[in-house]
């Protein structure tokens, strides 16, 4: 019998603090709400205009009729903007006590000391704590919350914002473009290589509040960066919406890796648009872990626009009781000798439903392009479901495409083998699952791998017998 994850007492991240917000918009989405958000943030007129155009598009655009069931989503019941405290915390001492407690429990200060080059912790809609290590600043790397970036680096911001994911891309990119708040902004100058990962923590803490962060990463020619974000969410009784947009530009010869672990509580609709463009000889990698949520629809995509550009996506998805994971990857080969790999590992248990949905596109110019897709599914019981829906669009004869899909169950022989060495059935199953997702976890920074293992272990507890 599965446990409802957030209801378990020991769940470290299932706590919830008193609401300390100082400003929030009314429920529901109107022109006034959007104007208010923009005004609160003291934005330039062009951004307000952009938001309003996006809002119009959002109204017009029908709900997607594919993927998961979105009928439980009521746009009128959502608070679109909550500002948690008066001013941006620059140093740890300035961060309000209650918010600090939340971060303490997430382990951020220690994490920062040990591993972080810069911390950008998002509490509700606004970044309240933000620190950047001096060496990053010296390198000329800009790493800040997106709102501040709009104020402090408006020209750079304007040049790239909305160029990878236009508001008209889909209904949820339109929604995000209208009400976005927070997120990370990164600019890595030409030839600069950030040696430590840049990290951000995200957290939803207000009932019915959507989180619409907007992330924009620009990796200039020959530069390289690894950005990591981990998400956890506390328990809530009614549905919550997370609808982020992530835009990444990797210029000639640049390298960007974007690592996410999301562990939304199981009432959250997680509808995210993530897209990167790669110029010649550039590399983009999405490392994408999806646990929890009520419904996730997420297909990180890479546009390989320049010759020799490379794209990698490694993802895992886990669906437990009452959860639907509709996730995958998209690769667009738009130039010669581009290459891509997709590794997707998904598993379902306790009646969960997991679908791999992917697209590989070879355009007319994609001579000599190569793609390799591997999707594996592990089903832990008879109640759970899995589906694989790969699309291929091929407009060039001179390409190579390999696709391998495997669906497996935890076998009696494997369990017997491990148990005959003294592991309980639960430990044995856990070990098989951990092994199954190892291609993903081995890509994670060490502390995230540890957290990931803890989350999986937690998920597996009580799901046997």
């Amino acid at each position: 019998m599965a446990k409802n994850l957030p209801e378990i007492e020991e769940y470290k991240y299932g706590f919830r603090d008193k609401d300390v917000s100082v400003f929030r918009t009314e429920k529901g989405l109107t022109r006034e709400v959007v104007e208010q958000i923009s005004k609160m943030k003291e934005e330039p007129q062009w951004m307000l205009d952009y938001r309003l155009k996006a809002l119009e598009h959002f109204y017009k655009r029908p709900m997607p009729q594919w993927g998961g069931d979105l009928s439980g989503l009521d746009f009128d019941e959502i608070v679109y903007y909550v500002k948690p405290s008066e001013k941006q915390g620059r140093t740890w001492d300035e961060v309000p006590e209650e918010i600090k407690q939340t971060f303490d429990r997430l382990g951020i200060p220690e994490a920062e000391q040990k591993y972080l080059a810069g911390v950008s912790a998002q509490y509700e809609s606004e970044v309240v704590y933000h620190s950047l290590k001096e060496d990053l600043e010296e390198l000329g790397i800009i790493f800040m919350d997106t709102d501040s970036a709009l104020k402090e680096h408006e020209e750079l911001f304007k040049e790239y914002f909305g160029t990878v994911v236009p508001y008209s891309d889909n209904k949820f990119s339109a929604l995000n473009s209208a009400v976005w708040s927070g997120g990370s902004f990164i600019y890595v100058p030409k030839g600069v290589k950030a040696t430590t990962p840049l990290q951000a923590y995200f957290r939803i803490n207000t009932e019915n509040m959507g989180q619409f962060e907007r992330t924009l990463i620009i990796v200039d020619e020959g530069a390289s960066v690894h950005y990591v974000e981990g998400c956890t969410a506390p328990t809530y009784s009614s549905s919550s919406l997370h609808s982020a947009v992530v835009e990444i530009i990797v210029k000639k010869g640049g390298y960007c890796r974007y690592t996410t672990i999301q562990n939304w509580s199981n009432n959250v609709y997680n509808l995210v648009t993530k897209r990167a463009t790669c110029e010649a000889d550039a590399t983009m990698e999405w490392i994408d872990g999806n646990l929890g949520s009520k419904l996730t629809m997420k297909y990180p995509s890479i546009h390989l626009k320049g010759e020799g550009a490379r794209g990698n996506t490694i993802s895992i998805a886990m669906a437990g009781k009452g959860q639907v994971q509709d996730a995958g990857a998209k690769m667009y080969h738009l130039a010669p000798n581009t290459s891509s790999t997709i590794v997707s590992k998904s598993f379902s248990k306790d009646g969960g439903n997991v679908t791999y949905r992917g697209l590989v596109h070879f355009g007319r110019k994609a001579d000599g392009a190569k793609a390799n897709i591997e999707c594996d599914t592990l089903i832990l019981d008879d109640k759970s479901k899995s589906d694989t829906i790969p699309y291929n669009e091929i407009y060039n004869d001179n390409i190579s495409l390999e696709h391998e899909a495997k669906v497996s169950k935890v076998s009696e022989e494997q369990l017997f083998y491990l148990m005959s060495r003294g592991l309980t059935e639960e430990e044995a199953t856990e070990m098989i699952v951990m092994g199954f997702i190892e291609p993903f976890t081995k890509e994670l920074p060490m502390e995230y791998a540890v957290e990931m293992n803890r989350l999986i272990k937690f998920e597996m507890e009580g799901s046997i017998g």
Binding site: R421, T424, E438
Partner: protein
């Protein structure tokens, strides 16, 4: 402390309602090496799996006890923690789990919470056993049995045996598919286990393995029963003369379990 005692009495085992074992009696004590020989299809591997508790095998009659404790009441993992070990004929592949991670989990499962093996000690002992079994160190970081050759799998089973130090081990055709060098190494590992605290049941087709490991007792299995027991000289005679004389002596035409005696 003297070694453990595994006592099997009148054991009847069925698989999918078909009776394979038809009354096996066997006692293995610490310090003793037993060999069970016999042609294919006589129930040898069924005995091994049934002792360890494979879910496909149903014990319909008889008993198995370890130091007086009812083994049949225990889950597979409880049997392991009580001190039993089965080296499998076809070990499973566990993708993504390194041999060393797996071994450490298994060792700690037996030691119990709060008494975990210190990491450095584990590494030292693992290195020692890898050297002893002439296994390349890289095996520790390879995924358990994945892509292993037949010989590597068997060496890995003996590595586990040496690391886990059970009281009673059952080795199911540990010699199958091994070339002579691998056979020698595997035998060396098994012989190293010899002590008053360790009892072993070796299941094999061939006398060949017994050139390197001298059993104290040799049993022959036919038609799901032990039909003959003796000392090491019995194995030698079987090697020299085959099973025909024994079948004649016992009046058995077909030695497999298909036939009812």
């Amino acid at each position: 402390m003297a070694g453990s005692v595994l006592e099997i009495k009148n054991l009847h085992v069925s698989i999918e309602d078909k009776e394979i074992l038809k009354g096996v009696d066997l006692t293995i004590k610490g310090g003793e090496f037993h060999a069970i020989m016999g042609p294919n299809g006589t129930g040898k591997s069924t005995l091994a799996s049934a002792i360890m508790g494979h879910p496909k095998y149903e014990v319909t009659e008889g008993s198995i006890t370890l130091n007086g404790e009812d083994v049949l009441e225990m889950e597979v993992d409880e049997r392991a923690r009580a001190g039993l070990f089965l080296a499998m004929q076809y070990p499973s592949e566990i993708s993504g789990v390194t041999t060393s991670d797996f071994l450490r989990s298994a060792i700690n499962a037996r030691r119990g919470e709060g008494n975990e093996i210190p990491l450095m000690k584990f590494i030292k002992e693992l290195d020692k056993d890898l050297d002893y079994l002439e296994i390349d160190k890289s095996m520790a970081t390879r995924y358990l049995n994945e892509g292993f050759s037949g010989g590597e799998k068997k060496r890995n089973e003996i590595l586990q045996l040496m690391q886990l130090k059970p009281d009673i081990a059952i080795l199911d055709e540990i010699d199958s598919g091994l070339d002579i060098d691998a056979l020698k190494v595997v035998s060396k590992g098994i012989n190293k286990m010899r002590s008053e605290e360790f009892g072993c049941l070796i299941i094999t087709h061939y006398q060949r393995l017994l050139n390197y490991i001298t059993p104290d007792f040799v049993h022959v299995m036919m038609q799901g029963r032990i039909v003959k027991s003796g000392g090491p000289e019995l194995a030698k005679r079987l090697e020299a003369e085959g099973y025909e004389w024994l079948k004649e002596e016992l009046g058995i035409k077909d030695e497999t379990v298909e036939q009812n005696a």
